[in-house]
Amino acid sequence: MESVYEFFNQNLFLIYLLIFTIILGFEVISKVPTVLHTPLMSGANAISGVVIIGAILLIRQSDPNDYLGLGLGFLGVILGMINVIGGFAVTDRMLEMFKRKK
């Protein structure tokens, strides 16, 4: 039990952040009309590409001779970038069509 107390006390900021972000995520989305579900899912999907930040940090921290780290980081950057660019571009294409008919 002692370790749980310790974990809580030490990571209090993180716990605040976690809880408020979850509430924020719920609140922002819960009033969305059905029309926007697909673009919204697609936009959120692009945001989940934030994982690319980790891949960038991984490559930067790798030793120039550590080809395993560099190679996996390289792969991670490619995968993450497809997710980010593809996701935002597809969402924009969908939303562009909503605009035009006005």
Binding site: T34, S42, V51, G73, M81
Partner: protein
Amino acid sequence: MAVTFYINLAYLLGAIAFVWGLRLLSTPDTARRGNILASIGMGLAIIAAMLAPLENTSNNYGWILGGMAVGAGIGWVSARRIQMTAMPQMVSMFNGLGGACAVVLALVEVFQFYGGERTLDSGQLVIVLSTLLIGGVAFTGSLLAFGKLQGLVRDNTLTLPKHNIINQIMLLVLIVMGVMLVIQGQEAGLTMAMIFTVLALIYGFSFVIPIGGADMPVVISLLNSFTGLSAAAAGLIYENNFMLVGGILVGASGTILTVLMCEAMNRSLLNVLIGGFGGGGGSAKGADGDQVAKEVSINDAAIQLYYSNSVMFVPGYGLAVAQAQKVCKEVDDLLEANGVDVKYAIHPVAGRMPGHMNVLLAEADVPYPKLLDLDDANSALPNTDMVVIVGANDVVNPAAYDDPGSPIYGMPVLNVWEAKNVIVLKRSMSTGYAGIQNPLFFHAKNRMLFGDAKDSLNKLVQELKNL
């Protein structure tokens, strides 16, 4: 010090851009700006990650820029080339790659940990293993969802007997293995960690195998939230609050979307995950041998439509497959020119994604006010002269009301049989995506117009022009 300040400021602004962008994405008028704002936030964060001061860094910018160029090229080209109808599988594929990225990051940690290059305390180990598990499931699950939507994998072909029990056992094994890996620490060895990873990937496949039919949108949304959670877990590994916030936002919004969709189908998430759709069709009554569906000729259909006061289209996935949205709009225009009131009834789960039909019809320039949601459509249907069902099936199945043995019993559907007449455009009498027969086809008010949806609508356009 000043550099660190600007880096942190950039991350903070990026996170605000995400939240604000999602907010703007929730209203039709501002949605596009919201998406652009979120992408700017991502751009800021990527620049910050490139420039952030790190200890012992050798930067290796060549590797990063190379990877970014390749990824951006692939992402951009596929996003531009993909047809609107194939959007759901594209989103699913992008989502899977995000999950794969998280898996790759966690694998690096695993290799370093078991190679003795770095230490992880049990809390960190839990995070790394969670990233592997959630990211792995999101990856392979999304790939299979892509395969199913693309028509590469047929529903039910891979389902094993007692599939759900196998899935549950697999999940249990994964959890037990995870706990053992955490308890044993480095002594568990790389092999066991790799077995855990492979099993997580297999579980992702297996978890999506029994899900099909109208449940596909739900599973994509759920996998999307998994990718968000795996990104958040990766953020914990890198102690990066920006990744954490972005990932959690996606995880929370994906979960809410999933729940909204389940509510639209009047089913619980558990029920969706356990499946039950498609497999053998349960005790659905379906067609008795003596029931015969009546056909209508193109000519008659055109005349009936032309002289109606009100017509309601019910688009479904068949419309998307046949790329018929623009022809549908042509029929609409011709009817409107004759003073017919034309509306579209959009079932929440029509197509393969929520809002899928809205996107397609928007592409064909159908004005937004013409689209009715489930409740509005159902209250308008009794006063509608003609209903034209284009490639929809399960969302207009009366068995959802009156056949407790049907797998879709209890799902809210469009009560098209309350309209005065119904025409179904369909290739054949085959069953819908849920694999069950539709008694509507044999209903006294219904007439079938067999053929490819686009083809039939084109012929209707010709007939209407001749009237």
